[in-house]
């Protein structure tokens, strides 16, 4: 976990002061809405259907318990008692008043939290694997690099008015849990033939109106060159990204129109001019930032302590939860615990202030004071001792975040949709809720295996539906809500876009369609353990389409 120093704290405080003044000038009329809007967006402030929405950055998804308590406080004091965790490891509050925002932000700033650059045409929250630092398959700690990039790109004078938003993600593990291939810049840490660690640099990934998988423009970039190379990409984009049409302004369009090779050449030419300048990262520069990362002093423990085995045998519910929500940790005797924010019949990804406080307490007691936010909209306690798992489970169960559906059909990723968002065409939350009700039988859900459903309420794809195993896109037809379904999408290292299943179906039928897809899968799979998404790969869309649309 990165600990702020005086410089970091000062910057955030200065930002709050600036925003307070901007709000004052807006409320007095000195600033028009047109002049104010980009400024408030750069502080994460949206105007939604019912109220302002505030999006707070959780850099690379890492939170301290003190920070989580501050979020709970903001939820209670300035909002309606809950927050929503997003697909970019941020948190959103939906009922904020503009006039109270500077105070809310001052509160947050004291805990090292802010909404800087969580919206607007600038570089957004840099995301990574929610298991960074604790995953057994990780080759190195990615968050130090994410922090180096975060600082470099915060209030960057040259890149604060880009053609459009810019999203960067990093992974440093064999399995990409950060969906780097659908980001504007995706960075994959890996070892080259000589055993050195560096970055594969991919650009131009993204979802939305024109989804693309990112293209590799630099197979191996030495660590020292990370900032200068990213600078070269940003400068190329800032100058040549389209500004005439907001639907064609992302870097993915520039890469597509120029071609990846030509784009790479442009970047390379710019990079060669700056690579040995003041952006080159020597060991001292990296160590400087790394010095403010704090890591747990893990107790020396053995795997599979007797308490654990005993609890498994004694309580089937505990066993089920253990098998679903707990993952292996790189340190012996420890575990990674997932907290499901997908209760049956509830809105996906939300947590109440009371839940946040309770989870913060658990983090202090059992997870060295640290929590993670996953882009699947769940939380993680990353440092739990295996012997504490029974106690942790009982506590999580009481808080309502122990539904053993992580990664299953009812672990749905959904945007807020038309219930909240002014960009939406259709609702997503009630669709998600109905699907969780249909699949609330855990045996049935487990029987379907790992199955990711992603729901977006409009083409902006904040629910990442293109890369869902089942993707659901809300559209509007003659004033009615309809849903377009895709299947076979993947978000990880083997990223691919889903294929359209058939004609869009009305609101009243979408949950039925999902059940029909599930039934078709059970019928078509080669073995019970063939994953849904692999069955789709093997048999194609047609057999699913036939079965789902037979009666429609």
């Amino acid at each position: 976990m990165y600990i702020y120093d005086d410089f970091d704290r000062t910057l955030v405080a200065e930002r709050v002061r600036e925003f307070r003044d901007q709000v004052r000038r807006r409320l007095s009329g000195e600033l028009t809405e047109e002049e104010f809007k980009p400024l408030r967006l750069m502080n994460g402030v949206y105007l939604q259907l019912h109220a302002y929405m505030l999006r707070i950055a959780i850099p690379y998804g890492t939170l301290s318990s003190a920070q989580l308590r501050t979020l709970a406080h903001v939820a209670r004091r300035y909002d309606r008692g809950y927050g929503h965790f997003t697909t970019r490891q941020n948190i959103q509050f939906n009922w904020i008043k503009l006039a109270e925002l500077p105070d809310a932000m001052a509160n947050l700033a004291r805990a090292g939290l802010h909404g800087m650059q969580t919206s607007g045409n600038c570089v957004r929250n840099i995301t990574t694997d929610q298991w960074a630092g604790v995953a057994p398959d990780e080759i190195e700690e990615a968050r130090v690099w994410a922090e180096l990039l975060r600082q470099h790109l915060t209030l960057h004078p040259e890149f604060s008015f880009l053609p459009r938003k810019f999203k960067i993600a990093l992974t440093a593990a064999a399995h990409d849990r950060a969906a780097v291939k659908v980001h504007d810049i995706g960075l994959r840490m890996h070892r080259n033939g000589a055993g050195e660690v560096g970055f594969e640099v991919m650009v131009g990934g993204g979802l939305g109106r024109t989804p693309f998988i990112a293209k590799t423009i630099k197979p191996f970039l030495p660590k020292r060159d990370l900032l200068s190379y990213v600078e070269a990409i940003m400068r190329t984009y800032n100058q040549y990204g389209r500004r005439d049409n907001i639907y064609k302004a992302r870097i993915k369009i520039l890469v597509h129109e120029l071609g990846a090779e030509k784009f790479a050449q442009e970047v390379e030419a710019e990079w060669l001019a700056i690579k040995d300048g003041n952006l080159a990262l020597d060991d001292a520069a990296v160590a400087e930032v790394a010095s403010r990362f704090r890591y747990p002093q893990y107790a020396e423990l053995a795997d599979n302590p007797p308490e654990l085995a005993k609890a498994r045998a004694a309580d089937q519910r505990f066993q089920i939860w253990l098998d679903n929500s707990v993952a292996n940790h790189k340190v012996a005797g420890h575990a990674i615990v997932m907290l499901s924010l997908k209760p049956v019949g509830g809105p996906p990804g939300d947590a109440t202030a009371a839940q946040m406080d309770a989870i913060a307490d658990l983090a202090d007691r059992y997870s060295h004071g640290e929590i993670r936010v996953a882009h699947e909209q769940n939380l993680v306690l990353p440092h739990v001792a295996q012997r504490d798992l029974p106690a942790v489970w009982r506590a999580l169960d009481e808080i309502g975040v122990a539904t053993p559906n992580v990664g299953l059909v009812s672990d749905i990723i959904a945007c807020p949709g038309l219930d909240y968002c002014s960009l939406a065409n259709a609702r997503s939350i009630p669709v998600a809720e109905e699907i969780t009700r249909r699949f609330q039988d855990l045996d049935r859900a487990r029987g379907l295996g790992r199955l990711h459903i992603n729901i977006s309420g409009c083409i902006n794809a904040c629910g990442h539906h293109h890369v869902g195993h089942i993707g659901i896109l809300g559209v509007e037809k003659n004033g009615e809500e309809f849903y377009q379904v895709t299947i076979g999408g993947r978000a990880g290292e083997d990223a691919e876009l889903g294929a359209i299943l058939g004609p869009a179906v009305p609101y009243g039928e979408i949950a039925d369609v999902v059940e029909d897809i599930a039934s078709a899968y059970v019928e078509l799979r080669a073995r019970p353990d063939e994953l849904f998404v692999d069955t789709v790969k093997r048999v194609g869309v047609e057999p699913f389409k036939e079965r789902v649309y037979a009666a429609r």
Partner: protein, 180 residues
């Protein structure tokens, strides 16, 4: 539209000359790019300072041969959300070593002054009178800067190194208190 330079509102000594109009004798002139490029030779011989308005969708590298004697390059923000001129400014200063006046024109607002200064602008055709009046104030908004740019403000990385090298308890900046 007030012109601000060195933190003060000043008279613009440059005369903006539209495409075909004759050049006023002996006066510094500010010309659109096409005219400038066409008449470059005469302009050098003219003996009075020359400025060019360079559009934000043209490479500043084209100006490289002229930067030694150009007194002024005016870059353009057609609206304040179009940030191409920030890159142009930095390239002119850092890549091409331009030392003359680098002026921000177009929609130039208070909330972007500091970004513009850091990108290398030193003169501003400020859109609103009220903003010109508080120029100096706007520069005080931030004392911490994470990244190097075209200016010489102390960036966090170096400030942190200084802090480490001088751990004397009386040194205010040296205390990088770490929260648990």
């Amino acid at each position: 539209m007030p012109l601000v330079k060195a933190g003060r509102i000043i008279e613009d000594r440059f005369v903006r000359v539209l495409d075909d109009a004759p050049l006023p004798d002996g006066a510094p002139v500010l010309l659109p790019a096409a005219r400038f490029l066409a008449d470059a030779r005469e302009l050098v011989l003219r003996g009075a300072p020359t400025g060019v308005i360079w559009p934000n969708d043209r490479k500043v590298a084209e100006l490289a041969p002229y930067l030694d004697w150009l007194a002024l390059v005016a870059l353009v923000f057609p609206n304040f959300r179009d940030g191409r001129a920030y890159s142009q400014a930095r390239l002119l200063r850092e890549r091409h070593g331009f030392r003359g006046e680098l002026r921000a024109t177009g929609q130039v607002l208070r909330d972007q002054f500091l970004f513009m200064l850091r990108a290398g602008f030193d003169a501003f055709e400020v859109t609103k009178d009220a903003d010109a009046a508080v120029f100096a104030e706007a520069l005080q908004r931030y004392s911490v800067f994470y990244q190097p740019a075209a200016d010489d403000r102390l960036i966090a990385r170096r400030a942190r190194l200084f802090a480490r090298q001088r751990p004397h308890p009386e040194e205010r900046r040296a205390t990088t208190r770490l929260e648990g």
